[in-house]
């Protein structure tokens, strides 16, 4: 079977919007913890969708192994690093008040960074798991 036209076009059409939706979820998680996780799942979903419709090679071109494997610890580093940055600025761990002159904004920025770390880790994990699953016999 050649690559099915309808599925191909449908996927192409919707992919950027799925990704954007991921970012939307990311930045609108009520400014509290959580958004990063769903966003990570959705973002990873785009890569999985690519792999399913366009094949694994395409997915690898977009998200190579080396990148994916490093996303997990990178997210962790972002998360923990933001906390440590708080420490370095003289506040408690995970206290981001020091990130801006206005404490409330500082806190907001901190949450954003942390959530971004979560996004990176989660998407990396899910893509890595997907790769591990589909490549197990190769």
């Amino acid at each position: 079977m050649s690559l099915d036209l309808i599925i191909r076009i449908g996927t192409k059409l919707i992919l950027p919007f799925i990704l954007l939706f991921a970012f939307y979820v990311q930045f609108h998680g009520d400014y509290g913890p959580g958004g990063g996780f769903q966003a990570g799942v959705i973002a990873a979903g785009t890569v999985i969708l690519v792999a399913i419709t366009f094949g694994l090679a395409t997915a690898h071109r977009i998200a190579p192994h080396g990148l994916v494997d490093r996303l997990i610890p990178l997210g962790l580093l972002i998360f923990a690093g933001a906390g440590v940055a708080g420490l370095l600025l003289g506040y408690n761990y995970l206290e981001y008040t020091g990130f801006s002159r206005t404490p409330a904004y500082g806190h907001e920025y901190g949450i954003l960074i942390v959530e971004f770390g979560v996004l990176v880790t989660v998407s990396g994990t899910i893509i890595a798991l997907f790769y591990a699953f589909v490549e197990r016999n190769r």
């Binding site: 036209l5 309808i6 076009i9 192409k12 059409l13 919007f17 609108h28």
Partner: protein, 157 residues
């Protein structure tokens, strides 16, 4: 151009979803949009198929027509479902698609599927294999009314 348009759509999508117009969120929205466009480029999805900018103009007339078709056939299918005898006559057929672009072809195929009572089962060249719930639906499609409508929509751009 295509990317610019995609960016426009994406940002509109963002605004609709977000509903916040605080500077920080707007900045984030723009950043996200840019990132998405970049990724789309990397994925090579925003081409004539994936972002059929050309079909935009015809959409204004085509979509309302399609909605009307959907309502009509949904009503028809409902009647069949609720009819005690379940008067179905499933039929498989092949119809010709006269669209010139793959985007147009996909529009036709999806329109068939969207309309209750008919499903595009397979696409092969410009032949669509269609499953219809009743024989009349199949014959209607064979007659090519919808095909012409989609082609006109495609051509109008």
């Amino acid at each position: 151009m295509r990317y610019l348009s995609l960016a426009g759509f994406l940002f509109a999508f963002w605004l609709a979803l977000s509903g916040h117009f605080k500077p920080m969120l707007l900045v984030l929205g723009l950043a996200s949009t840019t990132l998405c466009v970049l990724v789309a480029r990397r994925m090579r999805v925003a081409d004539g198929e994936g972002h059929p900018l050309e079909l935009l103009r015809g959409a204004v007339t085509y979509w309302p027509w399609l909605v009307r078709e959907i309502v009509k056939s949904a009503w028809a299918v409902s009647k069949i479902i609720l009819h005690p005898k379940l008067p179905i006559s499933p039929t498989m057929t092949v119809v010709r698609a006269s669209q010139k672009t793959t985007a147009g072809l996909a529009t036709y195929a999806n329109s068939i599927t969207l309309t209750p009572g008919t499903i595009t089962v397979a696409v092969s060249g410009n032949r669509l294999t269609v499953h219809a719930l009743v024989r009349d639906n199949a014959l209607d499609l064979e007659a090519g009314g919808m095909d012409r409508r989609v082609s006109r929509f495609e051509g109008s751009s």
